[in-house]
């Protein structure tokens, strides 16, 4: 029996998960129109491979991976590309992102799918397959799985699978584990093979007994030595850093990666996508999304990426007083500007909101330093000080108080008696610091280039002077003259 550890802080918000776990995962019907952002992952994105008017097949690449941290994006169904333009992205800012608009032809025809025998193949080929199949982390960060699985060639002791799903309302991983545990374990096998991990552990919050049972059964049947661990339900136990601490007792060093602690962590749905990409040759074109909140029939749907959020929510029957949609959960999610915003790889949940369900908070009062925020912070930060510095625009102090160790989980927001939107302040401060650093780097680069240019010009002048001097018969006199000339030119 593995010894579990705890993380500091945490909260127990009401779960609201029961309603969306009564029915199995349903296949969402094919929407008439899909809006597919080319960038659905962390990292770089390439130029599109298709043009307006092109006919595409399901799984056909729309944009390849580009650079060391990237993943490809694919057409979710067969049809015609009717647009390739900026469109509101699923992001709290509502900023525009380049999307391919695909008019579905109704046939949902796949492009050629080539399974890969990962046991025999060169591991680099399997990594490339993950990259070219567009597999990214489905826990919400959308980090390219190929990069994580490669582990930079470094040793991996523990392969950790994250079945935490700690945020209220969200149940997609729960249902996936209940229904597709064997496939998830086939994906885990591949990941173990790629990372060379000695131990395989699956962490699941103990409010999911059916999922735990299903995964335990699949673990036994898979022949893989894997341990399924039930962790105490406490938000945010499903956060990567917190889960690693609970299951292994190790901490991810500040500013570092789980790899620095010998751990690589993947969401269970990501393992499932790995299995599909490698063994079935299917690139990532769909995912399970929980549709819940102010709806009559909440449930989990397997839907195509690019499905407009409004179309997906309509399947669950939003109530008449629905005033918008939240992408994600009630603690870390954000409202989308319209129902036209598409489902992307990072979308785990769509919540129909209403005034009754999520009443507007009262206006914020001053911080009274009550300390509740620090009591619940899973990173052991002092949120009231970070707020103080962010508000005063004292970015240096905010960074010194470990602002970048904040995981933006929202525990502090949840408990604040003054109803201060704390996480917003931290996001703002982080953004300011990042853009200042970028500007500084650009200025430093410009300065170094300028200095080198001056040095190069000076060197050229001296070389020219030396050449002139060595050619002339009255070498000494000429050298002196040339030198004087060069000096006078330098003064300009």
């Amino acid at each position: 029996m593995r010894k579990l550890h705890s993380f500091s802080g945490g909260i127990h918000p009401p779960e609201h998960k029961e309603r969306s776990t009564r029915e199995p995962i349903a296949a969402a019907p094919l929407p008439p129109r899909l809006i597919v952002p080319l960038q659905q992952h962390a990292g770089t994105v390439a130029d599109p491979l298709v043009r307006v008017g092109d006919k595409v097949l399901k799984g056909q690449p729309l944009a390849p991976a580009l650079g060391p941290v990237s993943a490809a994006t694919h057409a979710p169904t067969s049809g015609t590309v009717t647009g390739l333009a900026p469109h509101p992205a699923p992001h709290p800012s509502g900023l525009l992102s380049l999307c391919a608009v695909i008019e579905a032809d109704g046939e949902d025809r796949w492009t050629e799918r080539v399974p890969l025998d990962w046991r025999q193949a060169d591991p680099r080929a399997v990594i490339d397959r993950l990259r070219d199949a567009g597999v990214v982390g489905l826990g919400g960060a959308a980090f390219p799985t190929a990069v994580k699985a490669r582990a930079n060639g470094r040793p991996v002791e523990i392969l950790l699978l994250n079945g935490g799903e700690c945020e209220p309302y969200i149940t997609c991983d729960d249902m996936l584990m209940r229904e597709r545990a064997p496939e998830i374990f086939r994906g885990i096998r591949i990941l173990r093979h790629l990372t060379g991990a000695r131990e395989v552990v699956v962490g699941i919050e103990d409010n999911k007994p059916e999922a735990i049972a299903a995964m335990e059964a699949a673990a036994r049947a898979s022949g893989l030595t894997a341990e399924v661990v039930a962790v105490p339900t406490l938000y945010p136990a499903g956060g990567e850093k917190q889960l690693i601490r609970v299951v292994t007792g190790r901490e991810v060093p500040s500013g570092g990666l789980p790899l620095d602690a010998g751990v690589v962590c993947f969401n269970v749905a990501t393992a499932h996508a790995v299995q599909r990409a490698v063994e079935s040759g299917e690139p990532m074109v769909s995912r399970v999304v929980t549709v819940t909140g102010n709806v009559h029939a909440p449930r989990n749907y397997e839907c195509l990426l690019g499905t407009p959020v409004g179309d997906l929510a309509a399947l669950a029957g939003p109530a008449a007083d629905t005033d918008g949609y939240i992408m994600g959960g009630p603690l870390m999610g954000f409202p989308v500007p319209s129902g036209n915003v598409p489902v992307v790889k990072a979308t785990n949940c769509v919540i129909a909101s209403s005034e009754a369900l999520f009443p507007k908070p009262p206006p914020p009062m001053p911080c009274i330093r009550c300390g509740r925020c620090a009591e619940v912070c899973p990173a052991s930060l002092q949120p009231m000080d970070l707020f103080w510095f962010a508000k005063a625009h004292n970015l240096e102090k905010a960074e010194a108080y470990s602002l970048f160790d904040c995981i933006e989980c929202g525990c502090c927001d949840y408990v604040c008696p003054s109803h201060i939107p704390l996480v917003q302040y931290y996001k703002f401060a982080k953004g300011e610091i990042r853009s200042m650093k970028q500007e500084k780097e650009a200025a430093d680069r410009a300065r170094r280039r300028h200095e080198f240019r001056q040095f190069r010009q000076e060197r050229e002048k001296q070389e020219r002077a030396a050449r002139l001097a060595s050619r002339a018969p009255g070498a000494k006199k000429a050298t002196a003259r040339a030198e004087a000339l060069a000096e006078s030119q330098e003064g300009e």
């Binding site: 993380f7 500091s8 909260i11 918000p13 009401p14 209220p168 850093k241 601490r245 901490e251 991810v252 060093p253 500040s254 500013g255 570092g256 939240i326 009630p330 603690l331 870390m332 999610g333 909101s353 999520f358 908070p361 009262p362 206006p363 009062m365 001053p366 911080c367 009274i368 330093r369 009550c370 300390g371 509740r372 620090a374 009591e375 899973p378 990173a379 052991s380 930060l381 002092q382 009231m384 000080d385 102090k397 010194a400 108080y401 470990s402 160790d405 929202g410 927001d413 949840y414 408990v415 604040c416 008696p417 003054s418 109803h419 939107p421 996480v423 917003q424």
Partner: protein
């Protein structure tokens, strides 16, 4: 902003503190008469009025700030630390000073460097030491106990019923009695047999202290305060008192007296726990409360005042930011606790 949140609010916290004071107020009235209610009324009115004026002057919306209850907490703490027969103008002046200067001139709610109630108390005791040391005798001990009307008349008009002098209605506090008689060369053991003392501390006063403990424990259960400040403050006072008493029982009263008398209990649970003027870090709270315990004992025994809680609080308020800086807890993923504003990673 998260879409869901706990049912928490500043006013809820403030009114919970007021509620926790009610048992002690009830005991107070039982033993010393209803004058304390007049003081609470005076201080509350003065606090709300000065807060409303200051909010207007600072161009803040009067609602919701006036309703948040923070001014009332300051008012009640002032009223409970003043003699119940204090003249009305003394209570009002101290409260107005606390709200206007100690609170609003420092930036208002959440920005006060010092505990406003203790600032009010300090101003009063330094400027009007005579009136501030005229404490009521417990009704059971007074030569001629005053009724409510007479008490109110004294507070507002300063006049006593015909034939009664102040000596008939006032009595030195237990701590004051202890200090004076120790200086006269009597032993602590003898002093503690005087009628002003009850079982452990002052008559009546020790039961009020008990009521403060009840209220304080309830506040802890409600997660309004944490255990650090009360436990550390009481432990420090107890340890210091016990140590000196063990060394010289004749000259130093023991821990039970110090814990049960004066402002020890109200200080531990209601005054030192003010979140704005005390450190936010757990270790910082322990250091702060420990320092306050030491200072309280030192002022009581060797200082010029019979009780030291108010000045101990204010002195530790001064130290609180530095204490916070040096007691930052270890952040996840970092090795040792770094000085918050100090070295870069």
């Amino acid at each position: 902003m998260t879409l869901v949140a706990e049912q928490a609010s500043v006013s809820r916290i403030m009114f919970q503190v007021l509620a926790a004071l009610v048992p002690a107020i009830a005991v107070y009235v039982w033993y010393f008469g209803p004058a304390i209610l007049v003081q609470i009324g005076l201080a509350s009115a003065a606090a709300l009025a000065s807060e409303a004026v200051m909010l207007r002057l600072r161009r803040y919306p009067v609602q919701p700030f006036l309703r948040d209850g923070s001014a009332l907490v300051t008012a009640w703490l002032i009223a409970l630390s003043f003699p119940p027969l204090a003249p009305w103008w003394l209570t009002v002046t101290a409260t107005v000073f606390a709200i206007v200067v100690a609170k609003h001139l420092y930036g208002g709610l959440g920005n006060n460097l010092f505990n406003p109630a203790m600032v009010g108390y300090a101003v009063a005791i330094i400027s009007f030491p005579l009136q501030m040391t005229r404490w009521s005798a417990p009704t059971a001990l007074a030569a001629a106990p005053l009724g409510f009307a007479d008490q109110a008349a004294y507070i507002f008009g300063g006049g006593l019923p015909a034939g009664l002098g102040l000596d008939a209605v006032t009595l030195a506090t237990p701590l004051d009695t202890l200090k004076t008689h120790l200086a006269l060369g009597e032993t602590a053991a003898d002093i503690l047999t005087m009628p002003v003392f009850g079982l452990l501390g002052g008559q009546g006063g020790e039961i009020i202290s008990l009521a403060y403990i009840m209220g304080g424990v309830w506040l802890w259960r409600q997660q309004v305060i944490t255990w650090h400040v009360p436990v550390m403050f009481l432990a420090t006072v107890a340890v210091m008192a016990a140590a000196f008493h063990a060394a010289n029982p004749a000259q130093y009263a023991g821990a039970p007296l110090h814990l049960a008398s004066g402002a020890t209990m109200i200080g531990a649970f209601f005054i030192l726990t003010d979140p704005v003027s005390s450190p936010t870090t757990p270790l910082g709270k322990l250091v702060y409360a420990g320092g306050a315990g030491v200072l309280t004992y030192v002022i009581r025994v060797w200082g010029g005042y019979p009780d030291g809680v108010a000045f101990a609080t204010l002195l530790m308020n001064l130290a609180a930011p530095m204490i916070e800086l040096h007691t930052q807890p270890r952040v996840y993923g970092q090795r040792a606790s770094r000085k918050g504003g100090g070295e870069k990673p």
